[in-house]
Amino acid sequence: MILPFRLPAIRAMAMSLALLAPLAGAAQAQVFDPTTFVLDNGMEVVVIENHRAPVVSHMVWYKAGAADEPAGKSGIAHYLEHLMFKGTETRAPGEFSRIIADIGGRENAFTSQDYTGYFQTVAPQHLGLMMELEADRMTGLVLTDAIIEPERKVILEERRSRTDNNPRSLLSEQVAAATWLNHPYRLPIIGWAHEIEAITRADLERFYETWYAPNNAVLVVSGDVEPAAVRRLAEETYGKIPARTLPPRIRPVEPPQIAPREVVMRDTRVNQPSWSRRYLAPSYVAGDTEHAYALELLVEIFGGGATGRIYRSVVAEQALAASAGAWYSPGELDLTTFGLWFTPRPGVAIEAVRTAMDAQVATLLETGVTEDELSRAKQRLIDSAIFARDSVGGPARVFGAALTTGQTVADVEAWPDRIRAVTVDQVNAAARAVFDANRSTTGILLPAEGESRT
C-alpha cells in the first residue's frame, strides 16, 4: 500500500487502491455483459465493449503471485514483474516501454499474492501491437546479471519506500506474519529484504518458465473494440504460443487457529496510535464460502462509511475514535480476513476504544442486523455495480482478479443477484462464524515508550 503524495500538483495513483475497490466486492455487476472465449492453447479471453471513448485497456493476468513462490524465496513474483520490462529475444531492453511511449500509450504492472498483471492503455488501433509485444514477453524474456542486478537495487529501494520508511507498513507486515502460521500469505509480496538479496537468476527463470504460459493466463480487453477483432488478433499472437504443463497450484494449508494473537509495535516515528484486528474468514472460493456474500453485506452494515454501526457509535456518538471501520475482501484464492480498525481521538486510550468496539461486536452477535439495515446495504452494493461501469479499466480489473482467484465470469455477472438474495439470518450466521476471538490477530501501533515526537 502506498500513500498518495500530498502535493496538489501531482497525483500518485496507487494500484493497490484502484484494485481494492472492485475486489472488495462493491463493483461487479450483471451488466458488464462480456464476451468470453478460450484460445486453442487454453488462454482465457474476456472482452468488455465500451464505445464511449477511443480507448482500449489491454491486460494479461497470470495465475501466479507471491503466494506461489518457493519457500525461502519471497519476492520472486514481484521481482520478475519488474524484469518483464527488460528485453526479450526479439526486443532490446527498454524497447517495449519505448514503443508504448511513442504511440502515446500508458502501461504498468502489478503483483499480488494470487496474481501478476500487466496492462497498457492505448488508442484502439494499437491493440494488435500490444498483443504482439505482450505475447513476445510471455516466452522470450532474456535475463542476464547486467539486467537483474540494478533492478534488485530498485526493488530494495521500493521496499525501503513502501515498508522500511513507514512504521504502519512495518506493523502490517508483522501482523500478516502472525495471522498466517503456515500459509504463504504470511510473507510480504515485495519479499523480505534478505531474501530479495538472495534471489538468483535461476530462481527467476524457474518461476517464469513454470507459470508464464498461455494456459495460465487471462487476457482481458476492455474499451472501444469488437470481440471478433479481438479474437482474430489474439489468435494471431497469443494463439501461436504452445501450452505448457502446469503444476497444481497448491499452497500450504493453515492449521486451525486456537488462540488470539496480538502484535504491539512501538516506533519513535509514530505519533498517532492505531489499532486493527482481523479474523480469519472465507473468501468466495475458500473456507466456508457460503458466508462470502453475507459478509460483504455485513461489512457494509457494520463498517461502511459514515453510516455504518461502528462509525455511528464509536466515532460519532461515543466520540472515542477519530475514525473507524471494517474491511473484507473476498477475492482471494485461499482464506481471507474480516478486519476492524480504528484510530483513537487525541487523548483517548486505545483500550477505551477497543472496549467500545468489542461491545459493538457483542451487540451484533446478540441481536443481529435488522431487515432495514440489510435492505439499505443491498441497495448501495447493487448501485455500486452501475458506477463500476463508468470506466474502461475498472471492469477489466474486476474480471482479471476474479478469473485468477478461482471465480468465473458467471460469478462476476451474478454478483448483484447473489447480494440481493442474502437474508438477515444469513448475515447473522456469517457474523457468528467470523467473530471468534480465537481466530483473530490484533495489531497495535504506538509511539515509543515515554516519547511522542512532534
Binding site: 511513442d102 500508458r106 484510530t343 481521538r345 487525541p346 439499505r376
Partner: protein
C-alpha cells in the same frame, strides 16, 4: 466527510506496481480523436456551467470550484478551508449530520469537498434516478451548512489525528520544508491541512466566515457530465446555487518569488531511505512557452518509464524506485519540481546525477528525436485518462479555472505539436538552473553538503 482510513492494512489491499503513476494535474484534457461536444449552459438565473451530455449510463457527475482555497486561510487559522471541506456534508438545513449522511448513503450519492491552495472544490456523483435529491443535498451543503458543535469537534479530531499520523511522514516533511524554504512568508508556504495548533484555533465563526466570503455565484465554476441535457441542467443550477450570495469577497494572493535558490536543507530523520524533493522557479500556466516547458519536462523527468532521470537514476544504476520531475503552476507562483527516494548511502550520488541531467538539458536541450517522441507521447496519451465521467467533469472545471477557452480540448494537441526545438532550447536556457535548485533531504544522507541541517526534534 467519510472516515479517513489511517490504520487500515488489509492484506488484500497490498498490490505492488512497477512504478508510481505521476500525472501532472495541470495538463488536462480529453481524447483528441473524440471532439467532446461541450455545451456552455447558462441558467435562467445566469449561472454558467459546461456540460458534456452522455447518455451511455444512468449517471450524472458534477464538479465545481470556488477560487480561493487554503492560500486565503487567515494566519494562525491554517487548515480552515480544509476543515470546511470536511464539514459541509456533516449536516445542513433541517438535517443533522447523521440524517444528511443517511440520505447520501441510502441513495448511493457521493458528495465530497476538498481544498487546495488555490481553490475550494466539490464533487457530486449520482444515479439519474436520484438526481434531483442529489442536487438538493448539494444545495443544502453549500447554502445552509449547520456546523453543529459535535460534528465540528468530530471532524476536527479526524483532521488532528490525520496530522498526527503524518508528522513524521518523510514525504510530508520534505514537501512542507521545501515550501517553507521557497515561499517564506507567502501563503503558499502554508500546509493545506494546517497544524495541530492552527486547527485547534479555528472557531465556528471562522467556518461561517469562510463560507460567506468564498461560496458565491460570481466565482463559481461548474462542469457536468452524463445523463442530463442542457435544458434539464439550467433550472437545476438555479435551484442548487441560486441561493448563494452574488459576489465572493475579493482576495489577493501576491505573486510568489521563490527564495532559497541553491540551498540544500537536510532534515535529519532516522529512516533507511532519504526522501528528496527539489525544485526552482517554473513557468506559469498562461505563459506561451508553457507547452515547450511541458515537452522539455517530459523528456527530463516527466515520461513514465522513459525519461532521462528515470533512465540515469533508476534504470542504469538502480538508485531509486521513484524519480521524476513535474511542472507545478500555481495561480500566483510557478515551480519546476522533482523528487527521488534513495537509500541514505547513495543520496549524494543521486542528487549529483539529477543536477547533471538538469545541466545537460540546459546546455544542450534535447535532440530532435527526443522532441518528436515526447510530442507523440503527449499527444497520443492526451485522451486516455478520460474514460470516466468524473475525470471529464474535473477537466471541464480545470479548463475554466485556467481560462483556457471552451475550444481548448480541441486545440491542446495542436499547441503541443507546434513546439519547436528552438522553443525548447529557449525555455531550457531561461528556466533550467541546476545550481539554483533548492534541495530538501529527509533522512540520514551521505555525500550531501548541507547549507542548513535541521536535527531530529528540531
Amino acid at each position: 466527510m467519510k472516515p479517513v482510513m489511517i490504520a487500515i492494512a488489509a492484506r488484500g489491499a497490498v498490490v505492488l506496481s512497477l512504478g508510481l503513476f505521476l500525472i501532472a494535474a495541470a495538463v488536462v484534457g480529453v481524447s483528441p480523436a473524440r471532439a467532446f461536444d461541450i455545451q456552455r449552459v447558462i441558467s435562467p438565473g445566469g449561472i454558467e456551467a459546461w456540460l458534456v451530455e452522455d447518455r451511455t449510463l444512468p449517471i450524472v457527475s458534477a464538479r465545481f470550484m470556488f477560487p480561493g482555497g487554503a492560500a486565503t486561510d487567515p494566519a494562525g487559522k491554517e487548515g480552515l478551508a480544509n476543515l470546511v471541506s470536511g464539514l459541509l456534508d456533516e449536516g445542513a438545513g433541517e438535517l443533522d449530520s447523521e440524517a444528511f449522511q443517511r440520505r447520501l448513503a441510502d441513495q448511493s450519492i457521493s458528495l465530497s469537498f476538498s481544498a487546495s491552495l488555490d481553490g475550494f472544490s466539490g464533487n457530486l456523483k449520482t444515479l439519474s434516478r436520484n438526481r434531483d435529491e442529489a442536487f438538493d443535498l448539494l444545495r443544502l451543503a453549500v447554502t445552509q451548512p449547520r456546523f453543529d458543535a459535535r460534528a465540528v469537534e468530530r471532524i476536527r479530531a479526524q483532521v488532528l489525528a490525520g496530522l498526527a499520523a503524518r508528522v513524521n511522514d518523510p514525504n510530508r516533511i520534505a514537501q512542507q520544508t521545501f515550501r517553507e524554504a521557497v515561499f517564506g512568508d507567502h501563503p503558499y508556504s502554508r500546509p493545506v491541512s494546517g497544524t495541530a495548533e492552527s486547527v485547534a484555533a479555528i472557531t465556528e465563526t471562522d467556518l461561517r466566515t469562510f463560507v460567506a466570503r468564498r461560496l458565491a455565484r460570481s466565482a463559481l465554476i461548474i462542469g457536468v457530465v452524463g445523463d442530463i441535457s442542457a435544458a434539464e441542467l439550467g433550472p437545476l443550477l438555479d435551484a442548487t446555487f441560486g441561493d448563494l450570495p452574488e459576489r465572493a469577497e475579493a482576495f489577493t494572493i501576491p505573486r510568489a518569488e521563490p527564495d532559497a535558490a541553491g540551498e540544500v536543507i537536510v532534515v535529519e530523520r532516522d529512516n533507511p531511505q532519504s526522501r528528496v524533493v527539489f525544485g526552482h522557479r517554473g513557468i506559469y500556466r498562461d505563459d506561451p512557452d508553457y507547452y515547450a516547458a511541458t515537452v522539455l519536462n517530459h523528456v527530463l523527468g516527466g515520461g513514465n518509464f522513459t525519461s532521462r532521470l528515470y533512465d540515469e537514476v533508476r534504470e542504469k544504476r538502480g538508485l531509486a524506485y521513484s524519480v521524476y520531475s513535474y511542472l507545478w503552476p500555481l495561480q500566483n507562483g510557478a515551480m519546476w519540481m522533482g523528487g527521488v527516494g534513495t537509500e541514505n548511502a547513495a543520496v549524494g550520488q543521486s542528487i549529483d546525477l539529477i543536477r547533471g541531467q538538469w545541466a545537460n538539458a540546459r546546455e544542450f536541450a534535447i535532440s530532435q528525436d527526443e522532441l518528436d517522441r515526447s510530442k507523440a507521447n503527449l499527444i497520443g496519451s492526451f485522451g486516455l485518462r478520460f474514460d470516466n465521467s468524473s475525470r471529464i467533469a474535473a477537466t471541464l472545471v480545470a479548463v475554466q479555472f485556467r481560462d483556457l477557452g471552451i475550444d481548448f480540448l480541441n486545440r491542446r494537441n495542436d499547441l503541443i505539436a507546434a513546439v519547436t526545438l528552438g522553443d525548447v532550447k529557449r525555455v531550457a536556457a531561461e528556466l533550467l538552473d541546476p545550481a539554483g535548485l533548492t534541495v530538501v533531504v529527509v533522512g540520514k544522507p551521505d555525500g550531501v553538503t548541507a547549507t542548513q541541517t535541521i536535527s531530529e526534534g528540531g
